[in-house]
Amino acid sequence: MTTALAAQASAVPRLAERVEVLRTETGALRLRGPMLERPAPLRMVAWLLRAPGRTEVELDDIGAWVVDRIDGRPLEQLSRELAAHLRLSRREAEVALADFLVALRRRNLVVLDATPPSAGPGRA
């Protein structure tokens, strides 16, 4: 999956609808997804298990650096900038970026547009 994502060099990542970007007091970046819509039986199970009502992840400084640049830039440009920022090889940056975006996409925090958006940045 990572390799397939890395091959989509022209794809443009953007934050999913209703995802909030929050800065904590310590300066860390948090991505907060919308409230999860569960069917009634699962709502009860989730309440019993004290499962969180929404997806929320806290990113380290490299993750925050990448999310700050999810503003309509294609994957290829992002990986090039990441390689320059962290002094990685091009391939290393591509794989690392793809791994990161796959992890965010699995949590429905990021979506990947196959073609660049025609107008305006894709940030939610």
């Binding site: 890395a6 091959a7 060099a9 490299i62 962290l86 002094r87 990685l88 090889s89 391939r91 290393e92 940056a93 794989v95 690392a96 791994d99």
Partner: protein, 301 residues
């Protein structure tokens, strides 16, 4: 006249090559006796390199024809249009395909080593010829150079690579040494190369980072630390014996560690040796040398 592309060394399992700097090593399979390397560039496969050590002179024509049949099966190429000499001790064949010409080369190198180069997409013969001509191999009982994924070390005879882990920002390779190539493993070597050295050490220095990596009941003794001036750190991590019998005899397990930071690439390299006999010397390559001289003692930059 166009300049040839810059090349970088690639050496694994006693086979040394120079490949274009823009190519990536994307697959390593096999071991000292036989194996395969896959090279790619721009997310496209470029070349497969296979080797085999049999101890006897290889039948080049037969091997070349077998490789040609495989090419026809996998890439839909036609039969070879003819064979030509390659670097004096090899052959090169051209196989036409709808997309262009695909080439296969084979050479018989020292130590009974046969190396086959196969283009994985159409390309010029000169590309394969230049890579094949610069290739060399060593015998079973010879020291060997190992250069891949940014690691570049020269090891004495009978060190054999047992595994590589390569993920974004980390390369880890493990070698075992068997005296005379047979029997039990008497020494082990682990080399790690990590990206973002400044972030990893986080202001605590290499020694501080190493202390944080220690296992339970392990103690670290720093023998020398010149990392602040671009030098190396030499240390010994001592832990309790690995077995009850060794612990009853009050024996310890020592890991001899050498670490350094490549400021230009912001990479931290950690060399760990464990085993019997004298500890392995520092394997840090000298910056001025093209190749890495063989270790001659416990000295270091």
């Amino acid at each position: 006249m166009a300049q040839p592309p810059p090349t970088v060394p690639l050496a694994l399992h006693g086979v040394s090559l120079r490949v274009p700097a823009s190519w990536d090593l994307v697959g390593t399979y096999g071991h000292w006796r036989a194996g395969q390397l896959l090279l790619a560039s721009e997310r496209q496969p470029r070349m497969s390199i296979t080797w085999q050590r049999r101890g006897t002179a290889p039948d080049l024509r037969r091997t070349l024809r077998a490789a040609g049949r495989r090419l026809a099966r996998e890439q839909g190429c036609s039969q070879s249009t003819g064979e030509q000499q390659l670097a004096g001790d090899g052959l090169i064949a051209c196989h036409p395909s709808p997309q262009g010409e695909v080439h296969i080369g084979i050479r018989a190198l020292s130590g009974g080593t046969a190396v086959v180069w196969r283009q994985l997409r159409p390309g010029p013969a000169a590309e394969l010829e230049s890579i094949a001509s610069a290739c060399s191999a060593v015998g079973d009982a010879d020291p060997a150079r190992w250069a891949f994924h940014g690691l570049d070390v020269a090891l004495p005879a009978w060190w054999r690579l047992e595994g590589i882990v390569h993920v974004a920002g980390l390369v880890r390779a493990v070698w075992f040494h068997r005296r005379g190539g047979r029997g039990r493993v008497d020494q082990a070597l682990v080399m790690r190369r990590l990206a973002c050295a400044a972030r990893i050490t986080n202001g605590h220095g290499v020694a501080g980072w190493l202390r944080a990596q220690l296992g339970r009941d392990e103690t670290l003794t720093i023998e020398r630390d010149d990392t602040a001036t671009g030098g190396t750190l030499m240390a010994c991590a001592r832990g309790p014996g690995a077995t009850w019998w060794r612990r009853l005899r009050r024996l310890h397990e020592d890991r001899h560690i050498v670490a350094w930071i490549d400021e230009a690439d912001d990479r931290l390299t950690v060399q760990e040796w464990q085993g019997r006999g004298d500890p392995m010397g520092c394997l840090r390559p000298r910056p001025s040398s093209q190749g890495n001289p063989l270790p001659s003692g416990r000295t270091c930059a």
